[in-house]
Amino acid sequence: MTLPPVAYARPATLEQATELLRDPAARALAGGQSLLPALAAARGAALAGGAGALAPVTLVDLSRIPGLDRLALDPADGALRIGALVTQRAAERSPLVAERAPLLAQALAQVGHPSIRNRGTVVGSLAHADPAAEVPAAAVALGGSVLVAGPGGARRELPAERLLAGPHRTTLAPGELIVELRLPAAATGERQAWLEFAPRRFDLPLVGAAVRVIPGAGARLTLAGVAPTPTTAVLPSHAENGAAVVAVERAVAALDPPSDARASGPLRSRLARTLALRALARAADDATPPARPGPLPPAAPPARAGDDARAPAAALALRLTVDGAVHRPAIDARETLAEVLRERCGALGVRVGCGEGHCGACTVTLDGRTVRSCTVLAAQADGARIETVEALAPAGAPLHPLQRAFVAEHALQCGFCTAGMLLSARELLTEDPAAGDEAIRAGLAGNLCRCTGYQGIVRAVRRARDEAVRDEGDARDDDDEL
């Protein structure tokens, strides 16, 4: 459950990055939520009786390049510009995205789980080019394009559908890097919807459907998971309209979706038909598709200035603040944050359950937001403030209200998932203090528990929520008395 050997480089400028990326073994690393699980999975599969050693990789960390974390409207044409370091979570909760590209906001809310979206980037998911994933389909559906930087300061722009070349393949040449995703302004009165299906709600979909209903111009359907890249068809605009059904069926009949271990081609066709019709009905129904307003999570720290680690290195020294204590471990570049926390910082409250970002047991907070420490490259956390479960109640201090609620409601049995569950629950209640059952379940869906059936966990989060509301009420009463 470790990563393969990697060399690590942390360029300070786009020029340095593109230069480093000319190496065919180099991969651009932003949030790493697609790339690092893929590396871990390939190695894990090889060790579990799979094929042999993997090709060496150089990870080019983009996170210290200034300016890539911008999410803004282009004053010239009203296009939404999403920089390469904008996280999925930031975009999902951005009022700009909700307003200008609700389809993207809806799709992002389905990408993995909060602790994945806190770290994963919109552009990174696009570049990962999974044929079933939400972001590539949304980018194509919205007529997006990417601004690409190349060696020597070269720039080019190309449409998202020409970026995507096939499953996990793009048309980027060595040395090229996506700087931002541009989504043109929606038409006046346009309504959008995203629907997807997977056996578990937040998994990578088997099939996803994006629909844009454009007044006077019919509807545009984009499907994920039915072809090597997202496919688009033009439809009449109303689901009730028999013509729309016929058009959807014609579009679906023209597909020849792949069969693999996750789904057969016929299942994908069926899902495409169902989701397309439902998305069409939804887009036709909802004047303003729901995009959650809610407070933004704590602002991301400004990108730290790049340092001199231009040359790829296999070892480096870090500075980490873990539960308030400063550590300066010397590490191998390939070490994950989970490994460093456990083995070099003594933070044994961090549990590793899968090493590939699937189970959530290793959840910690990084600069105030939950992440899965098994899929964070420790080198990227250099300078960060980490909190593990031990930060909730330092030794000797009384338990945190969530910890108390977990005990009171029997929300744990073996306790292996508990640390991650507590930290996810804390973030959930911070962002949505009135979270109802559905929001609680959705917010914790990325943290697997094998013992409790989630019954006590949901009750405990509810209890902590209600106690916090009561405490707040009490505090207000006290104020009144003053």
């Binding site: 459950m1 060790l47 299906f197 057969s264 169902t274 409250g349 910890q403 094998r450 059936g453």
Partner: protein, 782 residues
């Protein structure tokens, strides 16, 4: 809701109190320590080299490149680590033996079987090195499922097991043929049960450190295990060390559910390797390693038939139960746990007098089948309950009414297969479940079908040797417990059954506190160390700890209590003040009229006051107690409401209700937690979880991205209720529980899906009920 019928527990008493767990503060603070958290000086990390082939000959292993990697201490193969193979340990006539090596020698039999162990200073280096070991494989023909394994000319998994047939037996109870001939209705219900697995969040693992030297040479092993004594026994058998030189410690264990009962071949290899290199060696199982190479579970192919009269009496059940045993019959019992145990419970909670079972267990080139919650019972139960619903449909009877007519009402009841059901609330539990699930609910949307499934179950619980024998299973299952009052007045309860999340530190303390008359907090349960605990022959399994170990501790506490009262009398006598009233011990204080003696005072006197000690017949506050209870059976009912989306094939479980009757409850909070966990594991088995070997012989479900465990969004809120029918046979009427959801929730959900789609002509014949299977069954996709 509670319908207590003469519980041993009085209001306010520790036994039966709904109280939070003593272990939890430590766990929520992140202070647990698992095998992967432990280190020893000079420790090496172990990583295994595993077979990529389901069947192959090993022509050679070249580890030169791996050994040359800096940080690698050793690469060891079977040739370097001589040992006796692991063997299954159930004595049943006709069961063929399949010795399993810790490391495969010249032949591998499933993908993931280990052939070498790599030791290095760091795990990453050991993994790098493992990938550099070059094995010269000669792939050979393989067979993956039981039917194919039985076919003439199928490749043999073990050369000396002809036809891959590990075991075959026909069992007949009563006259099933006659009953079927006389029946008005006969329903055939085939079921291909999925292969799934426990998948606890913490994988397997161990740390072995050589101990002693020369004539005292031995080993200390910290292992993520459910049975430290069981592991010690296997290690003794394989390494040749005597058991008193092997110390097995179970630190915190992150879930187990049956998986950690057998000794892992890897554990044996780690111990052998540690002794070979003379350094501590730690192995922490990776998730993919677990999903691919750890034992799997279930995987029965069933052809069941149910015979009924026109009046809705169930007359007979007959089933051919074929277990896919995998490549080896696992060591702490055998692969028969699936079809053989399944046969014994075919009548379940119903008065079915005629039973026929054809049991077969076949080897295949897949990971071995070992226990997982509800061993053996889950899939036959599902098949029988699906058949019951179809009988109801054929007779136009309400499925609940059909069950009500056939549930056992009088106790004790001897089942057709020889189980002595001691007491229960079979009908009442069914009715309570039906009430819980009846609910005003918004109607399903367009293109969505709703269905209800309700199943009654009986759970052979609290396994002692008698319980095992009633399942025709010869397996010594007795336990000793040691209880001692320490000089400061605290109570130490030492047992051989560690907790993997079940809460023994609380529930067993409640038993002791109740019987002894002390506070729950004054009892420390120690269950982690073979060098401290009396031998537990079976370990933490088969819902047995509350009954067997709880019983042993209760009996020990009663004896210790007598001794404490004797100490109190001696103290008073020494003081020259006789008690003015009979001595009582409650809440840690002995009262005899005006005089009060705390436990601490008593303990101090009993240990150090020579005058008091001189008056004691038994001047010893340590009691050891063996208990091997008679068989006992828990019961209950589970109901589910599902929505099936015809557009996607997706099944949503809207409601679940569980009614549990496990006799006297030690702690309802813990009972409900266990019930809920088991139900959701059952939900996973019904809808999501499938190892699904591909054509190349590799599990498709090889990561937690492809092997789908239920998430919070897959599970509704459970409605839960209790009945309490104490066992007349066991200490305090305790029966044991924890598996019912794993046994019966798949049936409730499968029945609900069948109900939802009955008009569409859909029949459940294979699990899990994936969108693919649902839509195919409906004819919606080709």
């Amino acid at each position: 809701m509670s319908a207590a019928a003469g519980s041993a527990a009085a209001p306010g008493a520790p036994l039966g109190a709904r109280r939070t767990r003593l272990e939890d503060e430590r766990l929520v603070r992140g202070l647990a320590r698992h095998v992967g958290d432990l280190t020893r000086p000079r420790m090496l990390e172990a990583v295994f080299v595993r077979s990529p082939h389901p069947a192959a000959r090993v022509r050679g292993i070249d580890a030169a490149a791996a050994r040359a990697l800096p940080g690698v201490a050793a690469v060891l193969t079977a040739a370097d680590l001589p040992h006796a193979p692991l063997l299954d340990s159930v004595r049943i006539d006709g069961l063929r033996k399949t010795p399993q090596p810790a490391l495969a020698g010249d032949r591998v039999r499933f993908v993931g079987e280990p052939v070498a162990i790599v030791l290095a200073s760091r795990r990453a280096v050991a993994e790098d090195a493992a990938l550099l070991v070059a094995v010269d494989w000669e792939p050979t023909p393989f067979v993956l499922d039981a039917e194919a394994a039985a076919a003439p000319g199928a490749p043999l998994v073990h050369d000396d097991v002809a036809g891959n047939l590990l075991f075959a037996q026909t069992k007949t109870y009563g006259d099933p043929d006659g009953a079927f001939a006389a029946a008005d209705v006969v329903i055939e219900q085939p079921l291909i049960g999925n292969r799934y697995l426990a998948a606890p969040l913490e994988g397997r693992g161990c740390l072995a450190e050589p101990a002693g030297a020369g004539e005292t040479s031995g080993v200390t092993v910290w292992a993520s295990t459910m049975g430290p004594h069981l592991l010690r026994r296997r290690l003794a058998q394989t390494t040749g060390l005597p058991e008193h030189r092997i110390r097995v410690v179970a630190p915190d264990v992150g879930g187990a559910f049956g998986l950690k009962i057998p000794a892992a071949p890897e554990e044996v290899a780690v111990v052998l390797a540690a002794r070979a290199v003379g350094r501590p060696v730690r192995w922490v199982e990776g998730r993919r390693e677990q999903l691919v190479a750890a034992p799997h579970a279930k995987d029965q192919r069933i052809a069941l038939a149910l015979a009924a009269s026109a009046r809705g009496e169930l007359l007979a059940v007959r089933a051919a139960l074929t277990g896919n045993a995998g490549a080896y019959s696992f060591n702490s019992a055998s692969a028969l746990i699936e079809p053989y145990l399944g046969a014994g419970l075919l009548p379940g909670p119903y008065a079915i007098e005629h039973v026929g079972a054809e049991i077969r267990s076949l080897l295949s080139h897949t990971s071995p089948i070992s226990p997982y919650r509800g061993v053996g019972w889950t899939q036959p139960h599902t098949a029988r309950e699906l058949a019951l619903d179809r009988v109801a449909r054929a007779l136009d009877l309400d499925p609940v009414e059909l069950r009500r007519r056939n549930l056992i009402r009088g106790f004790p009841h001897r089942s057709a297969t020889g189980m002595h059901y001691d007491s229960g609330s079979y009908v009442a539990s069914l009715e309570t479940a039906a009430e819980l699930i009846a609910h005003e609910d918004e109607p399903p949307g367009t293109g969505v079908r709703r269905g209800v499934g309700l199943t009654a179950y009986v759970e052979p619980a609290g396994w002692g040797s008698d319980g095992a024998l009633q399942s025709e299973w010869s397996f010594a299952s007795h336990d000793g417990a040691r209880l001692q009052l320490d000089p400061t007045g605290g109570v130490l309860a030492v047992v051989g059954t560690p907790s993997q999340g079940q809460g023994h530190a609380t529930t067993l303390a409640q038993v002791v506190a109740h019987e002894l008359g002390v506070r729950v907090e004054d009892v420390a349960v120690v269950a982690d160390d073979t060098s401290a605990a009396p031998v537990s022959t079976a370990g933490t399994r088969a819902s047995r700890v509350a009954t067997v170990i709880g019983g042993a501790l209760a009996l020990a506490a009663r004896r210790l209590r007598e001794r404490l009262l004797a100490v109190a009398a001696a103290v008073l006598e020494t003081e020259g003040s006789a008690a003015t009233a009979p001595l009582t011990l409650a809440a840690g204080v002995v009262r005899g009229g005006a005089r009060e003696l705390t436990l601490r005072e008593l303990a101090e006197a009993a240990h150090f006051d020579l005058a008091v000690r001189g008056k004691l017949a038994e001047p010893d506050l340590v009691v050891t107690q063996l208990y091997d209870p008679p068989a006992t059976y828990s019961n209950g009912a589970i109901a589910a409401v599902v929505d099936v989306d015809l557009g996607t094939g997706g099944v949503t479980v809207r409601r679940l209700a569980v009614v549990e009757d496990c006799g006297t409850m030690l702690n309802p909070l813990v009972v409900e937690g266990q019930a809920a966990g088991a139900v959701v594991q059952g939900l996973g088995g019904a809808l999501l979880e499938d190892v699904a070997y591909d054509a190349a012989g590799r599990p498709a479900g090889d990561s937690l991205g492809s092997y789908l465990l239920p998430c919070a969004t897959d599970v509704p809120e459970l409605a839960m209720a209790h009945h309490e029918s104490p066992s007349p046979r066991t200490v305090n009427g305790v029966k044991g529980m924890g598996e019912s959801g794993a046994i019966a929730a798949p049936a409730a959900i499968a029945c609900a899906v069948a109900d939802a789609l009955a008009e569409e002509g859909f029949a459940v014949e294979r699990l899990p009920l994936t969108p693919e299977r649902v839509l195919r069954g409906l004819g919606a996709i080709a």
